[in-house]
Symmetry: C2
Subunit: 223 residues, 2 copies
Amino acid sequence: MAVTDEAITKIKDMLISGELSAGDRLPPEKELSEKLGLSRSSLREAVKALEIIKVLDVRRGDGTYVTSLEPKLLTEAMTFIVDLHQDESILEIFEVRRILEPAAAAIAAGRITTEEIAGLRATMENIDDSTSVEQLVDHDLVFHQLITSAANNAYLSSVLDGLSSGTVRARIWRGLTQEKAVDRTLSEHGAIIEALERGDAELAKALLTVHISGVEHWLRQAL
Amino acid sequence: MAVTDEAITKIKDMLISGELSAGDRLPPEKELSEKLGLSRSSLREAVKALEIIKVLDVRRGDGTYVTSLEPKLLTEAMTFIVDLHQDESILEIFEVRRILEPAAAAIAAGRITTEEIAGLRATMENIDDSTSVEQLVDHDLVFHQLITSAANNAYLSSVLDGLSSGTVRARIWRGLTQEKAVDRTLSEHGAIIEALERGDAELAKALLTVHISGVEHWLRQAL
DNA sequence: GTCAGTCTAATGGTCGGATGTTTATTTGCT
DNA sequence: AGCAAATAAACATCCGACCATTAGACTGAC
């Protein structure tokens, strides 16, 4: 194994063993490279790799720190990869979303707070079929994130957020706008909010299945 | 933005735009660094980062290639991250698995082939409650992977595989062995195979929900 | 004493080049 | 044609120098 990969493994082990914890600061590059027995150049490659997947947070002029290590960091790593193959396999991604999001909504229905409901309602304000695509994408992003986060499972949220990257969303809403299907989509969002507010898990689940399947169907014929 | 991060973005853009495709070979480091306007050292950091998340495949003495970019590469990226926080949040991860795996089994029930059934049966051979923990973990890993792959959705498989890393599995089976719960777990596996063979999606789904919930319950009290 | 501004040391960011190691290819011999 | 050695290409690693940024210490005015 290359020294750089060894360094990655060693740092990872230090995290797993607890020698390094969330928020801790790593020794300076020079010092750490000597400790791990490799050059600063090679160590930097290792640190860069860990920074990309959000395990380390490098602050120039300050130092290198261990991130919060929250499940949230799964999202960015996934988004990076999902972005790379959006064309062929969007449908497979939607199949996964169609499994997870209704389940998330069902869980959310049982524990969603009035504040969260209010947050969902807020995303619907000032939105109609004459709103710009960018705003629609923003609304859509926040809407779905609020629901999944109401399910109170950070991994669930991370995976779902990672699977639905912004680039894909933008393409879809552009298409929906052209086909004048914005109204219907927005009214589906409204119905979902009502079901969640009533705590109707079954209905919320069904509505989300229908909602995602609808977009999926549109996508299928658009490809 | 640092030059290294710019380089990562540029390479990513080359992939999205199609200038680089799966299997393509990148220019040599020296040449590419000149083209992108940065030093070889900095470029190497970028390449290393992309290698870690399985976007690039670096072959010493040969060259650097774009990987297949299959969804499968999501797994390793996820495993890396999931391994880092197994303790606190295993239960959240299990909640996600409990949503996805039964759904995967239901899909699989409708399209699983006799060869795949035979493959599942094969994992049960030579396995009983006197088998070593390592072998049990191997069996378990292959068993669940076969089911998810029978669902024929590469993203679904990748996400599930990523969520259930080997380290967690090992801990669980060690526990199950101590509690003499191996028998029950294995018989559950057998029942799942039969349901899949009969194409009974509802039963397969229910069995997997029960199966995962059982492990989840054991985990909850073990923590 | 307190605050603002300045200075400095620590730290990461970038670079260029030298050298080692591995692999694929070419060359040359039989 | 086939095998083996030589060669070249490419990545791997290291080193040392210098730049850029930041946090924190310091200083001086009030």
